[in-house]
Amino acid sequence: MDMGKKTKMNLGKTAVLLLITLAVYVVMKALLISSILSSYWGLVLDQALITTIGALGLCIIYGFSGQFSLGHAAFYGIGAYAAAFVSKTYGHGSMAWFLLALPVGALTAALVAFLIGLPILRLRSDYLGIATLGFGIIVKVGMDNSNRLLPVLGGATGITGLPQVAGFDIIFLCTVMTVLLTRNFVQSSYGRACTAIRDDEIAADIMGIDTTRYKVLAFVFGCALAGLAGALYVHRYPFLHPSSFDFLKSFDFLLIVVLGGLGSMSGTIITSIAWVFLLEGLRFVLGQQFLEFRGVIYALILVVIILLRPQGIFGGKEVSVMAPPKAIPASGKEGPHADPGN
């Protein structure tokens, strides 16, 4: 196999991935335009994609780097508020300001993640979990009282009248970009450093990897994705309320990532979409009369899945387009041979 063949294979996978997404896009678009998919289900679809972006962020943090975060929704919320602030104060529905609000949301979340991550990522497993959970609650209190700092943020009553400029197209595009970026990151040397930390932090350290640095890197990247998801969310739903970002939302992200199978991007993507549709689907299937059973059924499904598939649905595996190309050594070139005597 010649040099560059592997590169081609990688490009090949990217091409296949893009083709699939294009096909999905065309089908979805057709369904939406022809109103086979009602605007209500269109909204659900957008929510599913936004959830996917946020969940991929946690997939990086927890699934690939092993950092147990129970505060992911806080960063989703920070992104949402930062973007809402930009759009509400300056944008007023302008597309250019909206496009600016997206990176502002992501970067604000990333910045906060960096500042909080540097000290708390020293903590291990459950202690880190509870510290991030605590951070999430602090952020929620901050949102509830945000009007004291900036009246436009609305405090406990939330913000209304946000311009709904995000549509299916841009949300879909952001999702595809997120999937590609995450995949590329995971399949790079930086991603491998993170995965090594997940598997054995001490060994990674002793094998020459600056563990603090890569834990923070993964955390910042994952939180930036949560921020991006939040920024999209506020431009899709006209009403922003602090309770959308409380710790129960963090648990949503967590259970998606775990049910999908830790360390599986494909699992995270599919579970995100399935989970959002399941929740709405239940509403639909149960009808008004039995709607109150929705929560009970939802909880039961959760317990049953985890009992049946403790490793998650995908159990760390990837579907082939998301998997790294199988590296094969260049033939012809002889490696050194130990060729031991016996």
Binding site: S189, D205, G208, I209, P329, A338, P340, N342
Partner: protein, 257 residues
Amino acid sequence: MPILEIKDLSKNFGGLKAVSSFDLTLEENEIVGLIGPNGAGKTTVFNLITGIFPVSSGSIKFMGQDILGMKPFKITQLGIARTFQNIRLFKQCTVLENVRTIFHPRVKYGLMDSFLHTPRYSAEEERITEKSFELLKTMNLDDRAHLTAANLPYGDQRRLEIARALAGEPKLLLLDEPAAGMNPSEVGTLVEMIRFIRDHFNITILLIEHQMGVVMNVCERLVVLDFGEIIAAGLPEEIRNNQKVLEAYLGKGVVSA
């Protein structure tokens, strides 16, 4: 200049002396064995060299540089690599990934190249993969490159740890019981491999081992540790006939037996 110079090294855990007044000088290209009964403090010496535990007193110099108080990853990046007595592979990763990961500190592309998979990324990945396969081949593991590390038999896991350590391009390699859990034919191969590694990669090797077959065959010099103190040092033949060593190591009955 010696590659490693340890002087008067001591380590206490609570009141317990794990290592005391330990001296060791390694010259370039040596293979030296560190032996002694279970619990003698051998692995502690490795942990002190690689910076896992802070040293209680003494000095450690690597290629003339004082490495006391450095973080483990920094010490490794200077050129000391090791394997672990209780195998510590990146279990959920493939064999190949385990080796490729260790190239990270010297990788020649940035984060942006990672995100965008630029040509620079591709070329460098190509190089890392080639080198990893060379190392796997050296350790007879190239046909298992895509298996998950956790599913390898012990012998293969031990050899993978060595391959992984070599990926750090070390000047000094510390092997902690490389033969444990291997069958006799694997042990024979291992002895050859250790010699090959020394010659081919031009490195110094310090190894802890219980199987005397390996130690006597591969080491040029031995240091015997018991209760954290050196009780003997010298050529394998000398050690083999040293009564103090035989008693400490094999039990008192051995001489009469």
